[in-house]
């Protein structure tokens, strides 16, 4: 949305639209690709940061744009360029996790006592403000990472998109290149895993309405 508004502004300022830029790149002017980078690096980085650890965002973003450059001739302007790019970014994130899980030697850790205590505190928070403050802490991020580490690469991507980001099954299926029923099955399975993980640690919830 942000990039789209920016693009409209650029169009008003006489800058070429995405289709023109792509045609220029395909004609052999590689430097025109920088315009696409400038337009979309922020939304792509934002999207990637939601799926991979902070220290890996740059490499996955790099991979995304290089993949986009390589398959630029295959882009059909039936959907906005940003959507196409986001799909590539989602698949790059999935590949990142696949590679990462393949290399993983040690089994996934369980929730530490500190983590468990933090979760209890967060869930027992009486006001929304305290809850929000706790959700911004590093412990919360570590906890989320730990919970997601218990899922496979594809289930992890699916649960992040459908549950944490509340995207539709159709949208998720298009971004990850899997069918809608597959997304639904994976979401169900991942939620069940998540529940059993929380149950195993006897995590207690609480009301934190302001």
């Amino acid at each position: 949305m942000q990039a789209k508004a920016g693009q409209n502004k650029e169009k008003m300022a006489g800058k070429p639209d995405d289709i023109t830029v792509i045609a220029t790149v395909l004609d052999g002017d590689v430097n025109a690709f920088e315009l696409l980078l400038a337009r979309y690096e922020a939304p792509v980085a934002h999207m990637i940061a939601a799926h991979v650890p902070g220290q890996h965002v740059t490499e996955v973003a790099h991979e995304t744009f290089i993949r986009a450059f390589k398959s630029l001739s295959g882009y059909a302007p039936v959907k906005p360029f940003q959507n196409w790019l986001t799909t590539i970014a989602a698949r790059s994130c999935h590949d990142f996790w696949r590679e990462r899980y393949r290399r993983r030697e040690a089994p996934v850790c369980d929730l530490s006592d500190d983590g468990q205590r933090f979760m209890e505190t967060a869930l027992a928070a009486q006001s929304k403000e305290v809850f929000e403050t706790l959700a911004r802490q590093d412990e919360a991020r570590e906890l989320l990472a730990l919970v997601l580490d218990h899922l496979g690469p594809m289930d992890r991507m699916v649960i992040t998109m459908t549950y944490l980001e509340e995207r539709t099954a159709r949208e998720t299926s298009e971004m990850l290149g899997i069918s809608v029923p597959n997304v639904k099955v994976r979401t169900f399975r991942a939620k069940r895993k998540l529940k059993s993980f929380l149950k195993r640690h006897d995590i207690q919830g609480g009301s934190h309405e302001s």
Partner: protein, 109 residues
Amino acid sequence: MTSKEGRMNRNERESIGRLLKATHAHRKEHELTPAWRNSVMAEASRLSRAHTAKTEIERLAPRFTMAAAALSIVALMAATWTFGTLHDTLMSLYTTQALDMTSLPWTSL
């Protein structure tokens, strides 16, 4: 809040879900640097050059094929001609040898 049977009720699950969602929503933003952009552009240029070289070879490929085909035809013609004359040469050699061998006993007599 966990019930006696160890089962979580709906409110608890929602609270946990809300914590995870809030944590996810508050993730750190990542700013890409100009150095990052330069590295992407450098790789794109490298790929473009490699692609240009590849397409150049692909463009010349039919000419290479034509040249190879022409060379093969010439080689085949030369071989046919050589084998054709080779037969005659061999025959004349055998005949000469046979004549020599038969004339040899007469000269010794």
